[in-house]
């Protein structure tokens, strides 16, 4: 039995390490950092249907995936906000980051969990990440508009910013349609 379970365990651990490179923070550390007041986090999957994905794409934010795992930050039964962990390719490598949104859908915080590009570690700096605070689905959320670039790491900045814009749009849609309540 132990031998038979070994490949199964290997498959699961492969899934978690390849999808969750961690250099700076684990997903759990990130959500505790974003919502220090939360007494619990509840997993909640958003499942977009075809028409919702088309609606997002029509607004210029292709959803990339139909399924979005969200951690709902709770305190005493009330919802403080939401945390989504996502990955984008920077220039050549994966960047793992977490986006925290307040209950009203505004961006609360962005944390970088892992960054492996040879250049552009500065996207980890609080000064760069602070630019996202308070952004909404109505914000441009574009490098060169309301988000300043990091010289030498344009693609990393652009792709993380695009990722935050996508998460804000997906959760905005989910909130509007009641899929998050």
């Amino acid at each position: 039995m132990r031998m038979l379970l070994a490949p199964l365990a290997a498959a699961a651990s492969l899934a978690s390490t390849s999808a969750f490179a961690v250099d700076y923070l684990s997903a759990e550390q990130a959500r505790r950092l974003i919502f220090p007041d939360a007494d619990s986090f509840e997993p909640h999957d958003i499942a977009l249907d075809a028409s919702q994905m088309q609606a997002l794409a029509a607004n210029g934010v292709p959803a990339r995936s139909a399924r979005w795992p969200v951690q709902v930050a709770k305190r005493g039964g009330s919802t403080l906000g939401y945390v989504v962990v996502d990955e984008v390719i920077g220039k050549f490598e994966l960047i793992t980051y977490a986006v925290g949104l307040n209950a009203d859908g505004t961006v609360r915080q962005v944390e970088v969990l892992s960054y492996r590009e040879s250049h552009g570690h500065e996207i980890r700096l609080p000064a760069w990440r602070r630019q996202f605070i308070g952004k909404t689905g109505a914000s441009p959320l574009r490098v060169g508009e309301d988000i300043a670039n990091i010289s030498g790491a344009t693609l990393s900045c652009t792709h993380v910013t695009d990722g935050v814009r996508r998460i804000v749009a997906v959760l905005g849609l989910a909130r509007r349609t009641g899929a998050l309540s």
């Binding site: 000064a127 990091i150 030498g152």
Partner: protein, 410 residues
């Protein structure tokens, strides 16, 4: 993710079926035993499912090997001498990065310049980068091998999508010999205050190969003596360092220093030191992209080096320098498309001073060239750029030209 889910399902099927078959063969096994086992497996399956589902939403797969490429296809048309108009596959670069593990990767680039490289053609095939990068801790890495030197704004970010204008600016071509690479060991550290420090030891130039009969040294003194790690003379070792601060979003302030002896102990050549430094700044508030750079190079002991060359076309300069200021503005965007007009003014001198060789023997410093470039980059997307510009030369007006370029990078 799909592959992992499939292998998970296969493993589960095997895990569930084999024990069941085994149980059937053993008469001692009871239904209760089997039910217990199934319950246990169900619990394990649920736990594993939860683990798998904790992964991010349809994240892109971790790329272990990444194929990279950039290229520039340029057309230059001198306005006073249209007969010299030229179309050129300026450079075509293929590379790959391969990650051996979480900490270690290899980075390579192979470049072909001018379309064809053969005994009868001007083209070159070059290994532009070939180094191993090992991460010591997050934000801190060591590089070993052939790497781009951390100098100025362009050398490490030289893809056509990263700079304005069809051609690279003159200051970072004639004074800083981009694409400048050396072999050696480099430390890279990114700190929480926004400072990135790069420093190391590397190969260097070879002043013993200065060709005083050629004008190459007047076009770019360091490009005339670079070695590009091609059977490079390696008696002399260079020390280099760069510091770049990006603590305020959109702002970059930095500088670099490179120094080494460069006559490589060759018989008949006195010891001489090459030193090059630069200061640079870039600020990108909203749609603006403003940058400025100053760089200066020195070669010591040039009086002695030049003594046997007196009377030749191109002596070794004691000092060479240049600066530029550039402004660009993204005037229009639509989706990934962007149109960014820009203007750049640069002054550079590849021989702003010669060491004194005595009256009548010391060459005059070259005149300082001033170039004004105005044009636009049109990005079809983040990876494809079409550029056009006009360049006006104050000194050598025959060089005035119209440039058109197509570039890509991924």
């Amino acid at each position: 993710m799909k592959r992992n889910t499939l292998s998970l399902a296969a493993s589960l099927a095997v895990s569930l079926l084999l024990p069941a078959l085994g149980a059937h063969a053993q008469s001692a096994a009871t239904d209760a035993d089997l039910a217990q086992k199934v319950d246990k497996l169900s619990a394990e399956l649920a736990a594993l499912k939860a683990q798998v589902q904790a992964s991010p939403a349809a994240a892109p797969a971790e790329p272990a090997t990444v194929l990279t490429s950039y290229g520039e296809i340029n057309y230059n048309r001198p306005s006073k001498k249209p007969e010299n108009a030229q179309a050129d596959v300026r450079r075509f670069v293929l590379g790959f990065q391969h990650r051996f593990d979480d900490k270690t990767k290899v980075v390579t680039e192979l470049e072909v310049e001018h379309g064809v490289s053969s005994a009868d053609d001007a083209g070159e095939v070059e290994v532009e980068q070939a180094f191993i990068e090992h991460q010591l801790m997050p934000g801190t890495a060591l590089r070993a091998g052939l790497f781009l030197m951390p100098v100025g704004l362009l050398n490490e970010n030289h893809e056509p999508t990263a700079f304005y204008g069809v051609e690279r600016n003159f200051v970072e071509t004639a004074i800083i010999p981009s694409t400048w690479r050396e072999g050696g060991l480099q430390y890279v550290g990114s700190f929480d205050n926004g400072l990135t420090v790069q420093a190391g030891l590397s190969t260097t130039f070879d002043l013993s190969k200065w060709d005083a009969t050629s004008t190459e040294g007047a076009e770019s003194p360091l490009a005339a003596v670079h070695q590009e790690m091609s059977l490079a003379k390696a008696r002399d070792v260079a020390v280099f360092g760069a510091a770049n601060w990006r603590g305020i979003p959109g702002l970059l302030l930095g500088g670099s220093l490179f120094t080494s002896n460069a006559t490589q102990g060759q018989a008949g050549f006195p010891s001489a030191r090459i030193t090059l430094w630069d200061l640079h700044a870039r600020w990108t508030p909203q749609r603006w992209d403003l940058s400025a750079l100053y760089t200066q190079g020195h070669i010591s002991n040039t009086a002695e080096l030049n003594a046997p060359l007196v009377g030749s076309a191109t002596l070794i300069p004691e000092r060479f320098e240049g600066w530029y200021v550039q402004t660009a503005y993204t005037a229009w965007t639509s989706g990934d498309q962007a149109l960014s007009p820009f203007a750049r003014y640069e002054r550079y001198n590849t021989a702003s001073r010669y060491a004194d060789l005595g009256a009548g023997l010391t060459p005059d410093a070259l005149p300082t060239e001033r170039v004004f470039t105005v044009g636009a980059n049109y990005k079809l997307n983040a990876n494809v750029v079409v550029k056009l510009d006009l360049q006006r030369f104050k000194e050598n007006k025959d060089n005035n030209r119209f440039d058109l370029g197509l570039g890509w990078s991924f």
